[in-house]
Each structure stands twice: as C-alpha cells, then as structure tokens.
Symmetry: C2
Subunit: 354 residues, 2 copies
C-alpha cells in the first residue's frame, strides 16, 4: 500500500497534535452532487451502484475532487448485512429502504444466520480494496456498518419507521428474542468490519441511527452493549497503524459518558449537543466528531462560516476534534455551500492548533 500523504484525520482520532482540524462530511458522496447523480443513473438503481466496485470507487472519490476533505468513506449502504442474510433489500422511490422478508418471531430469529462476508458481501470488500488502491494514499479510507439495534429496527419493521412499533413490541414484549437477534447481528457486524479493515479500511464508524429512539436504560441494554461487543472484537492495529473506531448514535447526547466507556476512540455528535459541554464531559477519554446542523448549509456562506467558527470556539484549543456535520448532508444542499463549509474549516481552524 502506498504511504498515507494526509493523516490528519487519523491523528485527530488518536488525539495526537495536528496542524488544523480535519474534516469530512457524512454522506459526502451523494445526491447533492450532479456527478454522483450521473454515476448513479449509469449504474441503474442504488444497490447496483453499491455492487459495482468501479462505480462505487468513482462516487467515493468525487467529493475529494471538489473539496479539501481529509477522509474518504466507503460508498455503500447501512443495510448490506440484512440483505446478505436473505431479507431482500429494495428501494421504492421516495419511500426509503424496504425488505421483502421481516424478522418478527422467535422462529424467524432462530432461523437467521451469521453473515458470510467473503461470499455474500464480497462486493463491499472489492469496493474497499478498489477505493484504497485508487486513493493512493491521498487520504484515509473509512469503513462502516449499521449498529445491531439499527439493523434490527429495519429487519423487524421491514423498512423505515416513525415509532418502531414492531421492534419495540419485541424489545419490551420478548426481550430474550430481541437479545438473540442483536447477538447474531453483533457477530455479523464484527466480522464485516474486520474484513473491511483487512481489505483496506483505515478507520471504521458504527452508525447507530436509531439508538436515540430508545429509553435510557433500553439504549444501554439493547444498543450500546452490542456496540461495545463489536468494539471489543475489532482488529485495532493493521499494517503497522492503529485503526480507530468511531461510534455515532444519533440523539445520544445524554449518554456520552457510557459511550466513551466502550473503548471507542471517538464519538460522533449530532447537532443537538453543545460540543463544549461534550468536551468537558468526555474529552479526556475520546475524540469528538461533528457537529454542525446540515441545515446550516441552506444559509449564506457568511452565515455558514460564522457557525463553523462557533463550533471551533466551542471545542476550543487543541486536537481531538474532527469537524463534520451532525448527520448526513441533505440532498438539497448546494455544492457551493458545502465548499464554503469545508473551506471555512480549513481556513479558520489552524489557530486552534497553535
């Protein structure tokens, strides 16, 4: 593998000194970019784009050619594991992800296997190695997976949900069945992330999109516990370098202390958390990634720059901050505003690293 030319992102994750605050954007390869839309229509549907290593590589690198970003993230979907387990993922226009099969009963859970990453998710591993090769050391590559709880919500509901009626009915009504499902998913996610690391991912992020929908104690028992199991099972050094792990639970601002105790290197923050407060609470244990509201990109470049400064001031002096949005960039964001955002971080952040 070629030498890494920009390791600012990996260094900040380890809370080592950097020259400026590194930045990447969740969903940085996405519909807001016209070149992405062109690649996607070439591929056909969304999953065909994920399954074509060359096109997945192409869209992964597109935002790096536009903006001075410090990391690339594998282009894929959080629902590849349930798809590989035979649930039949598909997308209906404007409806979000759907599964042909659902997991609702004890028998459904008993019948569920552990994913065979090499055979059933080989397209992901091929995309990782293709992207890593194509990046040629330009920036580090981030691998990722959905969290067990987040995957379980889609598998039980059969798609997106507003209130997680069926998943919560299982959690509160048949907690042992839900635990068995989460246990199996944690084993699958651990294997999946380790194989991504072996294929070339230099950091990994666990996306717990729906952990914040849980009660405090249910979050600890049904989401965080399984993410900790995954963190414990990951390859943490590869190719002579530490492979940092980032946990991101949307809506978890009240639970940061517990998250920081998992052994993760960094926590992703959504925009509802005051980053100054988060640093006071857990900044001696983990790095912090975030946390501008993606909707700030609807404002003028001047207003965007002011918001970037506010967040940099909030975190304050020193390393341990990776700038990001608090969630994925919106499809209606103007690429020129995304550029203004990234450039503001590049231009304003050096003074916080004197």
């Amino acid at each position: 593998m070629s030498e890494l030319k920009n390791d600012r992102f990996l260094r900040a994750l380890m809370r080592q000194p950097v020259d400026r605050t590194p930045i990447w954007m969740m969903r940085q390869a996405g519909r807001y970019l016209p070149e992405y839309r062109a690649s996607r229509s070439q591929a056909g549907d969304f999953m065909s784009l994920c399954k074509n290593a060359d096109l997945a590589c192409e869209v992964t690198i597109q935002p790096l050619d536009r903006f001075p970003l410090d990391a690339a993230i594998l282009f894929s979907d959080i629902l590849t594991i349930p798809d590989a387990l035979g649930l039949g993922l598909y997308f209906e226009t404007g409806e979000g992800p759907r599964f042909k099969k659902t997991i609702r009963t004890e028998q459904d859970v008993a019948n569920l296997g552990i994913v065979n990453t090499e055979t059933d998710l080989d397209y992901v591993l091929k995309a990782v190695s293709t992207i890593r090769h194509e990046l040629n050391g330009r920036v580090p590559l981030i691998g990722f997976s959905g969290s067990p709880w987040t995957l379980a919500t889609y598998m039980v509901e059969g798609g997106s949900s507003k209130d997680f009626r069926h998943a919560k009915a299982m959690l509160y009504g048949q907690p042992d069945v839900m635990h068995e499902l989460l246990h199996k998913l944690a084993l699958s996610v651990t294997d999946y992330l380790n194989k991504q690391i072996l294929a070339g991912a230099q950091a990994v992020q666990i996306f717990d999109t729906w952990g914040g929908a849980l009660a405090h104690n249910a979050y600890l028992e049904f989401s965080l516990k399984y993410m900790k199991q995954i963190v414990d099972g990951l390859i943490r050094d590869h190719d002579g370098r530490r492979v940092p792990v980032i946990l991101f639970t949307k809506g978890a601002g009240q639970w940061l202390e517990a998250m920081a105790d998992t052994g993760a290197d960094a926590l992703g923050l959504d925009w509802t958390t005051d980053i100054a407060d988060a640093r006071r609470r857990i900044g001696d244990k983990v790095a912090l990634q975030g946390n501008m509201d993606p909707s700030v990109l609807y404002a003028s470049p001047a207003n965007i720059r002011a918001e970037v400064k506010r967040i940099l001031d909030g975190y304050g002096q020193g390393t341990g901050h990776i700038f990001n949005l608090g969630h994925g960039i919106h499809q209606f964001a103007d690429p020129a505003h995304a550029k203004a955002f990234v450039e503001a971080v590049v231009e304003l952040s050096p003074e916080y690293h004197r």
Copy 2:
C-alpha cells in the same frame, strides 16, 4: 365552579405532599379507544370533532371513565392557532396535518396577524368551559398550546416534515424573519392560553414537539426564549388557586437546566431521559412529568408494571413527580394495557410518599 375533589395533580406540580403519584397520559383521549372512534365518526372529520364542544367534552371524559386518571386534558389540536390565522388546516388520511397556505417569505410573516382568540378560537373556549362544567370537580382540566417554534415548523413547511428544510432555511438564512414569526406566535399563544385559563383550564402545558430537532444554541434562541416569554405573560393565579405551567420539549434531555430557568412549574420528560438523573439536575426547581416509553404498552401487564416500578424507583421518595408517558399513547395500544399501566401507578406509588 364546583370544588375540586382530586387535586393530587395540581399539588404534585407545586411539589406539595401527595398520597400517591398522580397520573395522566398524553393523548389519553384518542384513537386507541373504541368509544373515541365512535364519537369521531359521529363528528365526521377530526376538526369537526374539535369544533363541537359537546363531542369534544365527551371524548375528553371518556378515558376518565375507564381509568383512575388524575387529570383531564382539553381535546383539541396543537395547530388551532395557525388555522385561526387563516392558513387552512386540513387532514389527509395517513398524511398528518396540512396547511393550504404556507409562510415562507418576509412578506408572508409581515402579513400575519395576532390571533383573536374570542372570535376565531371561540370553539376552543366553549369546549374548555363545557368540559370544566361537566367534570364537576372530578379532576383538574389541563389546557394547552403548541409552542411558537413547533407551530412555525408546520406553518413554514405546510405540514409535517422529517428534516424541516424550509423552516431551518429560514432560521439560518433569514433569522430576523424567523424571529418576527416566532414573536407574533408567542403573542398569540400567550393570549390563547390565558383565555383558556379564564374559561376554566386549571393548568396549562406548552407542547414543543419539534424543539429537539434544533441545535443546542438554536433551541435556546428560537424555541426556549419564546416559551419563556409565554410563561412570563401567563395568568398564574385564578379562582384563588395557582395555575401551574408545564413545558414539554420532546428530545430536550440535554437542555433541562435552561428549561427549568424559565419559571415553568414542571417539565415534561420524554423517555430518553433517565428520570433519576433529571431529578438530580433540576428536581429542586421544578416538578417532573413522565416518562415511560409509550411502546412499553405493547408488552405484557407484568412487564408494564416492572417498567412503572423502575421509573418510580428512579424518581425516588417524595412529591414532584407526575407519572405520564414520554409522548402520546400510540393508536395501536391495547386499552387493557393502558389500564394495567394506570393501575400499576395507582397501586405501586403510595410507598414513595410515606
């Protein structure tokens, strides 16, 4: 007005001693009850039910006849004010509320008036006085309104939203326009709640359903500030008794200290907050209302009872706790499970008030 026979709810809101923890349920008059569905089909559509004082009274009292609840809440909608301001509220099946007109520009905001409660919301005041009379002192009656920010999101978006694209574009792109809109709404809400109090409401709750979608600093500036203005403007004593105010922002667990500083008597907690932690943080300033996940009602009565005990243990000994769900009861909840929930609170809570 007849004498109040059960003032447990009002006493707990003032943190005065009670014999047991009072309980009511958000959306306790609703679709999960067959008798509600019968009244609604008699009325025709949802707004016709709200606008018919006798039927609104009937559905308000229905849950009291089933369960030993300690408060009634006015049956109405949070969007009556924008409707009265001429936006044309309507409901499409399965789609949630919609407005015929939206508020998107500076001129739209400039053209917007302050609500004339007596003329344009007379049906609400008539419902309040009818219900109060019909309750005949059985339990106190709660009045309510949506918060300015929550009303603004619906008015700007034209209905429900997942990401509040237009409302946040206004907030970040034209903050002065958003402030003017919120200012006008705060004046309307203040008048609306005061008129409800004069008509017979014995406590009021401000529902800030969407405050939790804001960044920390944006919440303080665009939601909480206007709720504080409302609290400052409310009639706090009427008919020889204190009229307590409850603030409920869904997703505000990180911001409870700021909320407790508004002068509200109580804060509603959603289920993501650990009530023990909330009491440690602000229990010396305000009463706490909540906070069981409504989805617990999908579990068995035994599991529901265990969850009630867990929350009672969390709050601990003494007054200042009003039991409730962390959000409205789901339409698919089984009334028998709602009964098991209410009865568990009635049976288990006396030992916390020795």
